[in-house]
């Protein structure tokens, strides 16, 4: 087994602390990656705090992983030592079902998520990217271009594909007027992609302070959603809306903005239910309310290649792993533009400073850490 170090939550209330754990040895089809950067996704915090229930501790979060290949198994031709590589939300699936056959592994009933999923190799749970290394089957490893800023590429693995996939699935492109709701980690990527696809992009935000930034990111119009007069100007005019806001809110004010046959796609699961949406809003213009979940491996690679071609990455704030708990608190207040990314070099520093014994004592001293 490979000795790894990461940052883990040991329950829903206390801060993340250093954690020693083991990963499987590199198998014939595996790729061992030295993690250089890992994005901080809101779902990391949800699972750390058990907001969705079902969290199994300890949790090492992180599914926006980029780094360098250290070693590959003897049946791996796709990657070699020294290559840049990425890992997103998935590390395995059944590979036999319709979803897997159609390259939509995210919908496989046996999908294994990058962290907090049962791990058949270790008998424990999977551990994510808030750590120094990861071993992943080659089918779930992505190629990363040298042309992109590596740290700013990490969030593409979740925030990127989560917004790219629905915009592609609903054929957003030139001639379309598209609404993006919310300008956070997901929303800012959605604005970039919708703009890159040639759509006329209308950003909806509750924060007047984000107007200039939204324009810079690619929005053609910015609407302050609390202002009914501004909202009215877009009634029945949007072909598609990508709603990135997970907090419970009034969906009707947005469905009313869709044209006949328009769709609003949601990508966030709210902690408490949205007010029940108006069925009349759907019926009287044959509109749809839909959901979308990250993307399959093939599409994630396509997205990464598209980003390399169009020089698209996330706007990030780089932090050392030691600041993760502060970052979580700031994320809760939307105080980040637009994604925290952990520089895992900070983990190495820690690892070299501390010997195994002191790490173990940290590991058991959960409550006091950070």
């Amino acid at each position: 087994m490979l000795k790894n170090i990461g940052y883990a939550a040991h329950d829903s209330k206390t801060p993340l602390v250093p954690f020693n754990f083991e990963r499987r040895e590199v198998g014939a089809q595996d790729v061992l990656i030295e993690i250089q950067y890992c994005g901080v996704c809101h779902s990391d915090l949800h699972q750390v705090r058990d907001d969705w229930a079902g969290s199994t501790y300890p949790i090492v979060p992180g599914h926006e992983i980029v780094g360098r290949v250290l070693k590959v198994g003897n049946e791996v031709d796709e990657f070699k030592s020294g290559d840049l590589a990425g890992v997103g939300c998935l590390v395995d699936s059944c590979r036999l079902c319709t979803e897997c056959n159609e390259h939509l592994e995210q919908f496989c009933d046996s999908a294994v998520f990058t962290y907090n999923s049962p791990d058949k190799h270790t008998g424990k749970m999977t551990y994510g990217g808030y750590s120094n290394q990861i071993v992943v089957d080659k089918r779930f490893v992505l190629r990363i271009s040298h042309r992109l800023d590596l740290a700013a590429t990490a969030p593409l693995l979740c925030a990127g594909i989560t917004t790219y996939s629905p915009l592609r699935h609903w054929n957003v492109g030139k001639g379309d007027k598209v609404g993006i709701v919310g300008l956070g980690g997901l929303g800012h990527m959605a604005v970039k992609f919708a703009h890159a696809f040639g759509a006329h992009v209308v950003l909806f935000t509750t924060s007047p302070g984000k107007t200039e930034d939204a324009k810079r990111l690619g929005a053609d119009e910015i609407v302050i959603s609390k202002n009914p007069d501004e909202m009215k100007q877009h009634l029945k005019s949007l072909d598609f809306i990508l709603n990135t806001v997970a907090a419970a809110h009034d969906l009707d004010q947005y469905t009313a903005l869709l044209k006949r046959d328009g769709t609003m796609c949601l990508v966030g699961v709210p902690g408490s239910p949205h007010p029940s949406p108006s069925i009349g809003n759907l019926i009287f213009k044959r509109r749809s309310l839909a959901g979308s979940l990250i993307g399959g491996l093939k599409e994630t690679q396509e997205m990464l290649d598209f980003c390399a071609e169009h020089n698209i990455t996330s706007d990030i704030e780089l932090i050392p792993i030691q600041q993760i708990n502060v970052a979580f608190e700031r994320m809760l207040k939307s105080d980040v533009k637009y994604r925290f990314v952990i520089d895992l070099a900070s983990m190495e520093t820690l690892a070299s400073q501390e010997n195994q014994e002191s790490l173990e004592s940290l590991d058991s001293g959960v409550g006091a850490a950070n």
Copy 2:
């Protein structure tokens, strides 16, 4: 002006009573139809009782109209005296907008509904098919085949097209497993159409007593939706669900039955909101919740022609107009298999028995009537 007689609601509380009113003279593009049968739609009762607000009294309901052409304007070549003809929920639209140009007049912002819509010709409201005659622009008149039972054809004009249109729009056909929720006026037509299109039809009902009938109508499987074990057997297996139940109910038990990328289409506006649907159910299989509204004139004609070819009509209970208030009460209890249709010959009897003066006294004696 043409003197007409109908049955009208004069407020939301009292029974419908005979009502004398005037329709416009037959214009150059108009068709005058002697109404022979008119279906009784649940929305008639909703508007009579002002359940959706916005009712303007007096209301002469009825938008499932079939009868015989009495007279046509001099610019009408499409119909001639003696032809069978039908009128559905729409009698006019702007004819200029995208919706009208795409034969989707039901979504035109200036659509004029068959009753309780402002009528530019009379300055009053439009009056519907619970009456002896109607004058309608030829564009909104449908051709009816002599091969179909005329009374049983009336409900096709609303219940028929409301279910036909979404089944067509979402391409239901051979190889599909389709759910129909509810076996009422709409549901029984949905079962017939889905079966005729070649789909495997699963009917969901709360009433075990409807099983045999559902099979006769074309359902391949019947599921008692109150039985979780029966529901479970269909998890993630349906390509499409047409939900015809307007009463507020748990939508999640049905979205969970959809395959990845499946859609549940609702065709009823609930009086009170459904419990807020699970967004997770949508996200984790990229499912959609949609709405659909009747159908355009072109598609309504296509549906009528399809019905003539496949001998599809509604299962009806024929009533004289004098029983309309009793029929409303029975409809509220779902005590009808599956649609009441008014035989307007009963109106003629009344008209011949009473002279104009006594009709007027009936008209003013609203509360006491029936």
